[in-house]
C-alpha cells in the first residue's frame, strides 16, 4: 500500500507571460485518495493536464514516473493506454447520445468491423452497477441531471480498466446528496484498488475523504499532508493555501431593515415548449432594496429556469404571471430589456453561456455595457482597457494582462471575469446563480464581502445556491424551491439546514 504509483518531479510549465507550474513535485501512493488543493490559478488543473498528456511531453520540463516507468505521453491516448483517466472540470459527454454509447465512445466493443451493440449494452449495465447508478442505459445524456452525468463519466473511465482516476472539481456542480454519493463511490473504488486524485475547493469533503493532501500555491508545491497522521484540518489547509490565516468563512452581516420592494413576481408560471413540460408553477416572491435573498433547493429544482425567465426569457418559455419592478408592471421580452431595466444575471454555466472564451478579458468584461464606453457607437479602446484593469485589481483577477484570452484563465478567475462583467452593468437587481462555484476559500470571502458592500450601496441580490452554508451565511431571507414551485419562505433566524432540506425534498 505504500509504494508510489505516481511520481512527478521538477515539473515546470510556462505559458506566455505565466509560469503556471514552477518545479512542482507530486507523489501519489498506490491505492490512496489524494486530494489536490490550492487557490484559483495555483496550477492544479495544469498539473493534471501535464500528467494526462493534454500538454504533451516536451511542452513542459520535468519527469513523470507512473506505474514504475518513466512516461513521456504525447497525448491523452497515451496516458489512457497507461491507465490514467481524467474527468475534467467541465463534463465531456455527448448530450444527444445514449448513456451506453457515451460510456464506450472511442472504446467501442467491436465484432469485426462492426459495433456489437448487445455486448455494449450488457457491459454498460455492469459499469452502471459498479458506479451504483440506476438509469436506463438507453436514456439520453441530456435527460440526466449533472450528478448522474458525473457518474456516467466515471463509468466511462472505469470501462477502460483505469489504474489512476483524476477528478477535477467533480462536486462543484453537485448538491450535497449527490456529492456524498460520489465520495462514497470513490471510497468503494479505492477498496477495489483504484488510485484517485481529487481536486476540490470544498475543504470539508477533502478532509472527509483524503488519505493525503497536497497543497499548491502560485505554481509551487507547498506541502503534502498525511491525513492518517491527523495533521489535516480546515484552518491548516487554508493557511497553506493562502499563506495566511483566515478566521471566518463568511464576513459578518448585519441584517438591516430592508427598504422598499424592488422586484416582485406574482403567480409566475412557465412552460417550456422545447422540453414539453411545465418548468415553473405559480411562483411568487419579493425582493427588497438592500436585501440578499437566497434561493435554496436541489439541482434541477427550477431556480435557474426562474432566473432566466425573469431575465428576459431567453429560453423562450411560455410565461404567465406578473412581474413588477419598483411597483411598475413590466414585460421583459429579451435579456436586453432586462438589462435596461436594471437586472443582471450571472450564469451558473460560465463556459456555456457566460463567457466568450476566444475573446480576451477586457472584451468579456465590457460586453454587456459597451455603450457606456462608446461615443456615437465608437468604442473608446483606451477607456476599455482602463475599466478592465480596474476590475482586474478590485476583483483580484489573476491574469498576465487584460488582453489575455479568458480560455487561458483558471476556472475561478473566469468566474471573477463573469462577475466583473455584470458589475460593470451597474444593476439594481443582481441575480447570482451559484456565484462561488469553483472559487477558492480566499476568493469566496472576497466575493461575500463584495456582496455585502453592494447591498450596502443599495443593490438587491438574488443568490441561487446549492451550498446550504452559503445560503445560511449570506441571506437575509431564504426561499426554498422544489420541482418548479416555491415550497417555503424562511427568515434567516428561522432557517436551518434541516428545515431547508425538508422543504427542498417534499
Amino acid at each position: 500500500m505504500t509504494t508510489a504509483i505516481l511520481e512527478m518531479r521538477g515539473i515546470t510549465k510556462e505559458f506566455p507571460g505565466v509560469k503556471a507550474l514552477n518545479n512542482v513535485t507530486f507523489s501519489v501512493k498506490r491505492g490512496e485518495i489524494h486530494c489536490l488543493v490550492g487557490e484559483n490559478g495555483a496550477g492544479k488543473s495544469t498539473l493534471m493536464k501535464v500528467l494526462s498528456g493534454v500538454y504533451p511531453h516536451g511542452s513542459y520540463t520535468g519527469e513523470i514516473g507512473f506505474a514504475g516507468q518513466v512516461q513521456q505521453f504525447r497525448g491523452i491516448r497515451d496516458s489512457e493506454r497507461a491507465g490514467i483517466a481524467i474527468i475534467y472540470q467541465e463534463l465531456a459527454l455527448v448530450p444527444e447520445l445514449t448513456v451506453y454509447e457515451n460510456i464506450f465512445l472511442g472504446n467501442e466493443v467491436r465484432k469485426g468491423a462492426l459495433i456489437d451493440w448487445n455486448e455494449t449494452i450488457k457491459r454498460a449495465t455492469q459499469m452502471l452497477a459498479k458506479v451504483r447508478l440506476d438509469v436506463n442505459p438507453e436514456a439520453k445524456i441530456k435527460d440526466l441531471g449533472v450528478g448522474k452525468q458525473q457518474l456516467v463519466e466515471i463509468a466511462k473511465a472505469l470501462s477502460r480498466d483505469v489504474k489512476l482516476l483524476i477528478l477535477d472539481e467533480p462536486t462543484a456542480a453537485l448538491n450535497e446528496g449527490d456529492s456524498a454519493n460520489l465520495l462514497d463511490l470513490l471510497r468503494g473504488l479505492r477498496d477495489q484498488g483504484v488510485t484517485c486524485i481529487l481536486i476540490s475547493h470544498k475543504l470539508k469533503e477533502v478532509i472527509a475523504i483524503a488519505d493525503s493532501v497536497t497543497v499548491l500555491r502560485d505554481g509551487q508545491t507547498i506541502c503534502t499532508l498525511d491525513a492518517h497522521e491527523g495533521e489535516v484540518s480546515e484552518p491548516i489547509l487554508i493557511k497553506h493555501m493562502v499563506g495566511r490565516e483566515i478566521e471566518q468563512i463568511y464576513p459578518p452581516r448585519e441584517h438591516k431593515q430592508p427598504g422598499a420592494v424592488v422586484l416582485e413576481v406574482r403567480d409566475w408560471s412557465a412552460y417550456s415548449p422545447s422540453l414539453g413540460r411545465q418548468v415553473l408553477r405559480n411562483v411568487s416572491f419579493t425582493l427588497r432594496k438592500g436585501e440578499i435573498v437566497g434561493f435554496a433547493g436541489l439541482m434541477g429544482s427550477g431556480r435557474t429556469e426562474l432566473a432566466l425567465s425573469i431575465f428576459g426569457n431567453s429560453p423562450n418559455y411560455r410565461i404567465e404571471g406578473e412581474l413588477q419592478l419598483k411597483g411598475e408592471p413590466r414585460q421583459l421580452r429579451r435579456p436586453s430589456d432586462a438589462i435596461a431595466a436594471g437586472i443582471a444575471y450571472v450564469t451558473e454555466d460560465r463556459k456555456g453561456n457566460g463567457l466568450i472564451l476566444i475573446q480576451d478579458v477586457k472584451q468579456n468584461i465590457t460586453l454587456a455595457n459597451l455603450r457606456a464606453l462608446a461615443q456615437r457607437s465608437v468604442i473608446d479602446a483606451n477607456a476599455e482597457v482602463k475599466i478592465a484593469n480596474e476590475y482586474r485589481t478590485t476583483m483580484n483577477i489573476k491574469t498576465p494582462s487584460v488582453e489575455q484570452r479568458v480560455s487561458n484563465l483558471s476556472g475561478g478567475n473566469q468566474q471573477k471575469v463573469c462577475l466583473s462583467k455584470w458589475l460593470f452593468v451597474k444593476p439594481d437587481v443582481l441575480i447570482l446563480d451559484e456565484p462561488t462555484r469553483g472559487i477558492d476559500v480566499g476568493a469566496k470571502y472576497e466575493i461575500y464581502t463584495l456582496m455585502n458592500s453592494l447591498v450596502d450601496q443599495g443593490m438587491s441580490i438574488v443568490m441561487i445556491s446549492s451550498e446550504l452554508p452559503e445560503v445560511l451565511g449570506m441571506s437575509d431571507r431564504v426561499y426554498v424551491v422544489a420541482s418548479g414551485r416555491i415550497t417555503g419562505e424562511l427568515s434567516v433566524s428561522e432557517a436551518t439546514p434541516e428545515k431547508i432540506m425538508e422543504l427542498a425534498t417534499n
Partner: protein, 405 residues
Amino acid sequence: MMSGKTEAQASGSFMQDLSKVLRQNIRDYGMYIALFVIMVIFAITTNGIFLSPRNLSNLLNQTGYIAVLAVGMTLVIVIRHIDLSVGFLAGFLGAVAAIALVQWGLPTLFVIPLVLGLGALAGLITAFPIAQLGIPSFVASLAGWLIYRGMLQLATEGTGTIIIPDAAFNAIGNGFIPDVPLGGPFEQIHSLTLLLGIIAIGLFIYNDLNSRKKKIAYGFEVLPTAIFALKLIFISGIVGWITWVLANFNGLSWTVVVMLLVVGIYHFITTSTVLGRHIYAVGGNPEAAELSGISVKRITYIVFGSMGMLSALSGILFASRLQSATTTAGTLFELDAIAAAYVGGVSAAGGVGRVTGSIIGALVMTSLTSGMNLMGVGISYQYIVRGVVLAAAVIFDVATRRAAR
C-alpha cells in the same frame, strides 16, 4: 492593418525580436507572406510580366468584385453561417441594373442605390428563415442560389446578353480617377494617384506613431523599436511601390477606390464600433451574447443584409467591367469569396476573422488566376492549384491555432 503583440520583456537582438514577433503573430502575418511569395514566384515565372503596370492594374480591378463579396462573407462566416446565394444574386442584380439602365432608361445615379437597396432586401429575405426559424444557412442560401440563378436566366432570357452603353456606369469597372495636369516632370505620371498614395502613407505613419505613443503613455506593451520601424518601412514601401506603378500607368481605377472604401468602412465597423463587437460576440458564443443583451437575430439580419448589399455592389462592378449583363454572370463567385475569406484567416468555428485579411485572401486568389493565365496554365490545372492553396490555408490556420494553445 497589421497589429503586433509581444511581451514586454527585455528585448534581445534584432533578429531574435523579429523571429519572435513573427512567430507570435504568424496567424496575422501568414497571408501577407503568402501573397508576397506568390507574387515573387509569378514575377520569376512570367519574366516580370506579372508585375508590369498593366497587369497589376488589371489584377486589382479583377479583385474588386470578389473582394467586396469576401468582405461580406467574412462577417457571415464570423457569425457561424454561410451564404451560397451571393454569386447568382450578384449576377441577377447586375442584370437588373442593366435592364434599369437600358430598357427603363433610368439614370446611373438612381440605378446604383436602387440595386444596392434590392441587394440588402434580398439579404434580409435570406436571413428570415435563418434567424426566425433556425433553418441552417447552408440550406436557406442554397435555395437562394437556385432562385437567383433562375431569376438571372429569366431576366436575360428574351434578350440574351444585355449590352450597357452607359459611359458613367461602365466607368466604375473600367475607368480611372481623373488626373490633375501638372506638366513638367509629372507629364507622364498620374499625379493625383501619386498624391493620394503619399497622403495614405503619411496618414498611416502618423496613425501608427500616434497609437504607439498612446500605448506607451498608458504603459501597454508595444513592438520593439527596430521591429516597429521595419513594419512601417515595409508597409509604406509596398503602398508606395503600388502607387508608383499605378501612377505610371492609368492611375487609380474607380474599382480600387470602391474596394478601398468598402474595406475601410468595414474595417472601422468591425474593429471600433459597438456593432462590430456585437457581431464577433455572437460568433464567439451566441448564447453568451444573447444573455449579454445582444439580439442574435438582429445581428443575423444585419450581417445578411450587408452581405446582400455587397452582392449587389459586386454585381454592379462585374456588369460594369464587362459593360454588359450576361446569362452566366456570378457563376462561382460565392466559392471564390468563401475561399478568399478562409485564405484570409477566417475561422469556421466562428468569432474569428478580419476583413483586411479577406481582402488579402481575395488578392491571393486572383493573383493565382492571373499569374497562371499569363503562364498559359490550362483552366483544369488552375482549379486544382487554387484548391490546393485553399486547403493549405485552412490547414495552416488550424495548425497555428493548435500551436497557440
